[in-house]
C-alpha cells in the first residue's frame, strides 16, 4: 500500500530520520519501537503527509506522494498525536470537525459520532466541554476523532502512554479490533515494549532515526539482537523470582532489590517498569506507592525535553523526568535520591 524509499528528514542541523525504507501492506499492524527522540513522530508525520521528507520518496499504490499530491495520502490516512490537541467546544464537536470535511448527510454525521463515542466509552459525556476531560478521556477522544473518519491508514503516536488502566484497556481493544474487523492498516509508534509485543504484527526498531531491526514480535523478544537488548535495558526490564505474600508479588531481582507488584504470578518472572512511572525525590516520599528505593545517580542523559536518570539502587533503574525537574531539583551525578513507583506500575512480560 505504502512504500518508503530512502526517506531522510533533517530540521536544520538535526537529523530526525536517515535513510528509512520499508513497505507497509494493506491491513498490517506495524509497530515502530524506539526511545524518545528516535524519529518515531517524524516518521508518522511523513506517513500522514503532514511533513515532507528532505530526501527519498513516499509511494502510495506505486504513485509518488509530493507537492499537490500530498492531499491524496492525507485523505487516506490520519494521525493521532501523542500530545492530545483538542478543539474548543464539546466532545461531540471535536468528532464532528473531521466529519464535516467529508460529504456526509447530517444523519450520517450524527450516526458516526454516536458510534465512535460509544466505541471509546465517551457516549455519556458527549456534550461535556472537551478540554474538561481527564487525560485518559482526552486521549480516547482524539482516537475517536480519527476513527470517525474511517481512513484506511491509522497512525498512532504513543497511543498508550500515560493512560489510566481503564483507558488503556479501551484503547488497546479498539486498536486491535479495528485492525481485525475493519482491516484498517495501523502504524503505532511506542517505546513501550509490552504494548509492542501485545499488539503488533510486525516491528521496526528505530534508533537515532535509523531502522536498526525489523521483524516479527517473536524474533524481537525471543532472539533479541544487541540493539534490541540495549534498548530493552534502557526500559527497566528485570528477571527475578516472584513470591506472593499477602496478595502482593515480591520479586527479587538481585542486588538486594525486592520489587513489589500487583500481579499474581509466582516463580520465574520478567518485569518491566516504564521509566516515566518512576518518581525521583531527594527525600523519602510519603506515599501509597509500594516501592521506594534509595540509590545514587550514576548517569544523566538528556534527550529533547526529557531527561533519563540512571539510578543505582543495587540494580540500575532508569527514571524519566522533565528537564525542568532536573534543573529545579539540582540533580547531578553522584547525588543520593529515592525512586518511588507503584506496585501496579510493575508489569509482567
Amino acid at each position: 500500500m505504502i512504500e518508503l524509499v530512502g526517506i531522510s528528514r533533517r530540521y536544520g542541523e538535526v537529523v530526525a530520520l536517515s535513510d528509512v525504507s520499508f513497505t507497509l501492506g494493506r491491513g498490517e499492524l506495524l509497530t515502530v519501537l524506539g526511545p524518545n527522540g528516535s524519529g518515531k513522530t517524524t516518521l508518522l508525520k511523513i506517513l500522514g503527509a503532514l511533513e515532507t521528507p528532505t530526501d527519498g520518496e513516499v509511494l502510495i499504490d506505486s504513485v509518488r506522494v509530493e507537492g499537490r499530491n500530498m492531499d491524496v495520502l492525507r485523505r487516506r490516512a490520519t494521525v493521532v498525536f501523542q500530545r492530545t490537541v483538542l478543539l474548543r467546544g464539546s466532545v461531540r464537536r471535536n468528532v464532528e470537525f473531521g466529519l464535516r470535511q467529508l460529504d456526509l448527510s447530517g444523519d450520517e454525521v450524527d450516526r458516526r459520532i454516536d458510534e465512535v463515542l460509544e466505541l471509546v466509552g465517551l457516549e455519556e459525556i458527549a456534550d461535556r466541554r472537551a478540554r474538561s476531560l481527564s487525560g485518559g478521556e482526552q486521549q480516547r477522544l482524539s482516537l475517536a476523532r480519527a476513527l470517525a473518519l474511517d481512513r484506511e491508514l491509522l497512525l498512532l503516536d504513543e497511543p498508550t502512554a500515560n493512560l489510566d488502566p481503564e483507558s488503556l484497556a479501551i484503547v488497546k481493544e479498539v486498536i486491535s479490533g479495528l485492525n481485525r474487523d475493519r482491516g484498517t492498516t495501523v502504524v503505532m509508534a511506542t517505546h513501550n515494549l509490552i504494548q509492542a509485543e501485545e499488539l503488533s504484527g510486525r516491528l521496526i526498531l528505530l534508533i537515532g532515526g535509523r531502522i536498526v531491526e525489523e521483524g516479527s514480535p517473536d524474533t524481537f523478544f525471543h532472539t533479541p539482537s544487541a540493539e534490541m537488548r540495549r534498548f530493552a535495558r534502557s526500559e527497566n526490564i528485570y528477571a527475578g523470582d516472584s513470591l506472593i505474600v499477602d496478595g502482593v508479588a515480591h520479586i527479587d531481582i538481585g542486588g538486594g532489590v525486592n520489587v513489589r507488584a500487583t500481579f499474581s504470578h509466582e516463580g520465574r518472572a520478567t518485569i518491566h517498569i516504564a521509566p516515566e512511572d518512576i518518581i525521583v525525590s531527594l527525600g523519602v516520599l510519603e506515599s501509597s506507592a509500594r516501592n521506594s528505593l534509595k540509590g545514587r545517580i550514576i548517569g544523566v542523559e538528556e534527550m529533547n525535553s526529557v531527561v533519563k536518570l540512571k539510578v543505582d539502587v543495587g540494580r540500575t533503574f532508569i527514571a524519566q523526568i522533565t528537564r525542568r525537574s532536573l534543573v529545579e531539583m539540582g540533580l547531578n551525578v553522584g547525588q543520593e535520591v529515592y525512586i518511588t513507583f507503584k506496585a501496579s506500575s510493575v508489569q509482567a512480560i
Partner: protein, 232 residues
Amino acid sequence: MVSALWEGLLRALSLIVMRDPTLMEITLRSVAISGLATLFAALWSIPLGILIGLERFKGRIILRGFFNTLMGMPTVTLGLVLYLLFSRSGPLGFLRVLYSPGAIIVGQSLLITPIIVSFVANTLEAADPEIRSLALTLGASEMGARFTVLSESLDGVLLAVTASFNRAIAELGVALMLGGNIRGVTRVLTTSIALETSRGELELGIALTIVLLTIVGVVNLSTNLFRRRTHP
C-alpha cells in the same frame, strides 16, 4: 470641591435619565465614528495579523516590531501627521476631509491598526502549533486549517477588536486635531468632555464621562458574555 463634584454627579445623572438631546447626539456620534473606525481597521488589520502570525516570510520580525512600536504612538502625534496631510496646503488637502467625521474615522482606524495587528499576530503565534496539523490530518484543506487556527484563537481576535474600539472611543488627540470639535458635526464624547470642563460646565463633563465609561464597560461585558456563550 467635593460638594461641587457631588452636585455635578447628580445633575449629570438627571441629564442621562432625561435623555438630554445634546448628550444623546454626542454619544451616538461617538459610537458611530469609533465603531466605523474599528470596522474598517479590522478589515485590513485582521488579515495582516494572520499573515504575520501564521506565515513565515522575510522581514516578518521587522514588520512585527514595527507594529509593536506603533502601538505606543501618542494620539496627538498621529493627529499632527494627519493634520499636515489633510490640511489645505497638504498633499491630501484636495480631499477636503479635514474637520469632518470622515477625518476622525480615518485617524482612529490608523491609530488602532497596530493594536489589532499585534494582538492578532500574538494570539496566533501563541496558539498551539499542532492545531494546524490536527486540522490537516482530520481532512481540512490548507486554507481550512488556517481558518481553524484562527477560530480556535477567536478569544484573542475578539479581545483585539474590543480593545481597539475602546482605544478609539476614548482617545482625544485625533478627534480634536482632525475633527475640530465642531458642534453638531464632529463633536464627540472626549472632545466635549475637554471643552465642557475647560468652560467650567462640570456637570455635563461628568455626565459625558459616565456615558463614556458605561459604553466601554458594556462593550467589555458583552464580549465576555459572547465568549462564554459561544465557547463554554
